[in-house]
């Protein structure tokens, strides 16, 4: 057994990853088993705390519906993400070029940031109805701020000497933006996009709480009304999965685009 130790480094990357995750997976399985045993032994009522098997049963029974519902939520989140991050990116690009616009708009962006999203959601439902629109807008709002702040910071992260170098070459604003500022900003942008990807899912779910007839948020709310705690847990599981999947997609994109060594910012 001890002799194996030396072999660890020579194993394939997949096996290496597996062995790296092994303790975490073991802890997870252990917790599940313990949970199942405690709920069974202590006879905890199902509406207070369902057993893992109860939850699994629901997931199997309503799996397709849950996937569809979470699909709606993902759609709202991705659309909101694209909208919020897109607008934030354009705003940041303008901020860096026109200080006056930044000084007139940034304070209001900060005010918008401090308004609790749960407080805006009902208002947007009144204005935009029960369809996709209010969910997309809420998801967009929660994505907007981190992307705005990080993109602005990234576009400004260029060393003053690098700008002087461009100046000595009589580089145009466009050249400075596309050849220097934007590449410098990409690590900052991606670190914000990762945060925004998780936030957008949360935003969409919160929006679904205030008025929706589909989506995983709707599943969770209606399950809580009916004290269907097992379904509630299944909903929570799927919501988390949605956040994780979206985050992983953005992370993968980041690995693809930030190809140069030392590009990625520390988490």
């Amino acid at each position: 057994m001890m002799a194996n130790h030396d072999n660890v480094k020579k194993k394939s990357p997949i096996i290496h990853t597996l062995s790296e995750w092994f303790p975490a997976i073991l802890l997870f399985l252990g917790t599940i088993v313990l949970w199942q045993i405690l709920v069974t032994v202590l006879k905890v009522p199902r509406y207070v705390l369902p057993s893992p098997l109860n939850i699994l049963e629901i997931i199997i029974k309503r799996g397709i519906d849950l996937v569809i519902q979470v699909g709606w939520t993902m759609l709202e989140a991705i659309m909101g993400f694209a909208l919020g991050a897109g607008v934030a990116f354009i705003a940041a690009s303008i901020f860096v070029h026109v200080r006056l616009i930044e000084r007139s708009m940034l304070p209001w962006a900060i005010v918008l940031e401090t308004v609790p999203i749960v407080a805006i959601a009902p208002l947007l439902t009144i204005w935009l109805g029960f369809g996709l629109a209010p969910k997309v807008v809420i998801a967009a709002i929660v994505c907007f701020f981190p992307v705005l702040v990080n993109t602005t910071r990234g576009l400004r992260s260029v060393a003053p000497q690098a700008l002087e170098l461009m100046h000595l070459l009589s580089a145009s604003r466009w050249q400075v933006y596309f050849r220097v500022r934007l590449p410098s900003a990409t690590p900052f942008i991606f670190s914000a996009l990762k945060v925004a990807s998780s936030l957008s899912v949360i935003g969409a779910i919160v929006a679904e709480f205030t008025g929706a007839d589909r989506g995983i948020g709707y599943v969770v709310v209606s399950a809580s009304y009916r004290l269907d705690t097992a379904l509630l847990f299944a909903g929570i599981t799927f919501s988390s999965l949605a956040g994780v999947v979206f985050y992983q997609i953005i992370s993968g994109l980041e690995r693809l685009i930030l190809y140069w060594p030392g590009a990625r910012l520390p988490e």
Binding site: E164, M166, H167, L169, A171, W260, G262
Partner: protein, 271 residues
């Protein structure tokens, strides 16, 4: 109003003064006058904060002097800048981490576009040649993150030379490097300079470095920077390290060091 001796490729500073405005006005330079001849290697030596970087930025037209005049190859610094007469190397290499060494060297040509003095089909070959000149053959595809400090600075030198600037401004380019690397790069810079024969203005803290490299050394006093003395360096070229162990070199080093220190003491004595 053209200066008489400015009708050539010299750099002429006449009574240049620089005061940075603001709440706490800073007088960085006062009444600086001297001429740098075409293809000359001149070092600026002086205490920290005496305006050496400011002087380079004035010459290259990045900032304008408060008083006095600067003429670069019979033009204003702004015109010389528009003609892309300047290559600049900073203390930090300021390479772009998303570009390989070769791509970093080529970047200025891409920025210059139609104004580039190097033909498109020759750019890559010339960039490779420059990287070879700074002893970086084989590192063309390396990213800055994968290079040591000295290697990065050599890439920065190659990048500054790619568009054939007649004037190379170097602001403490080896100041952040260890002594061995610095010595090697001194020698390498001389080799490169022998080849390209540009005018070089080289800022340094090191008197040894200044004497080893330059034709003349301009000594600046502490703030506001004034020309304290201009020293002709008598050593023959091409130079090797041996020159640094000659008695003449040691004596000259001691003399310059003495001059700087005396001046510092005198300045401290004033209210």
């Amino acid at each position: 109003m053209m200066n008489v001796d400015a009708t050539n490729n010299n750099i002429v500073l006449s009574n240049v003064g620089m005061i940075f405005p603001g709440e706490q006005q800073v007088e960085a330079l006062r009444d600086v006058s001297f001429t740098i001849r075409d293809k000359e290697f001149v070092s600026l030596v002086g205490p920290s904060g005496c305006g050496k970087s400011t002087l380079l930025r004035l010459v290259s037209g990045l900032i304008a002097p408060t008083t006095g005049e600067i003429s670069v190859r019979s033009k204003t610094p702004a015109q010389a800048q528009a003609d892309v007469d300047f290559g600049f190397v900073f203390q930090e290499p300021v390479l772009f981490p998303w570009l390989t060494a070769l791509e970093n060297v080529i970047l200025p040509i891409q920025i210059l576009g139609k104004r580039s003095p190097v033909k498109d089909q020759e750019v890559i070959a010339y960039a490779r040649q420059l990287l070879a000149d700074v002893e970086l053959s084989g590192f063309e595809k390396h990213y800055p993150e994968q290079l040591s400090g000295g290697m990065k600075q050599r890439v920065a030198i190659a990048r500054a030379l790619i568009y054939h600037p007649p004037i190379l401004l170097m602001d403490e380019p080896f100041g952040a490097l260890d002594e061995f690397t610095r010595d090697r790069l001194n020698l390498l810079l001389l080799h490169v300079w022998e080849k390209i024969r540009a005018t070089i203005i080289f800022v340094t803290h090191s008197i040894t470095e200044a004497l080893f490299l330059s034709d003349r050394v301009v000594m600046l006093s502490s703030r506001p920077g004034r020309v304290m003395s201009i020293v002709d360096v008598p050593f023959e070229r091409p130079r090797t390290f041996d020159v640094r162990f000659t008695q003449e070199f040691t004596e000259l080093t001691a003399e310059l060091r003495h001059m700087l220190q005396l001046r510092e003491v005198a300045d401290d004595g004033q209210p």
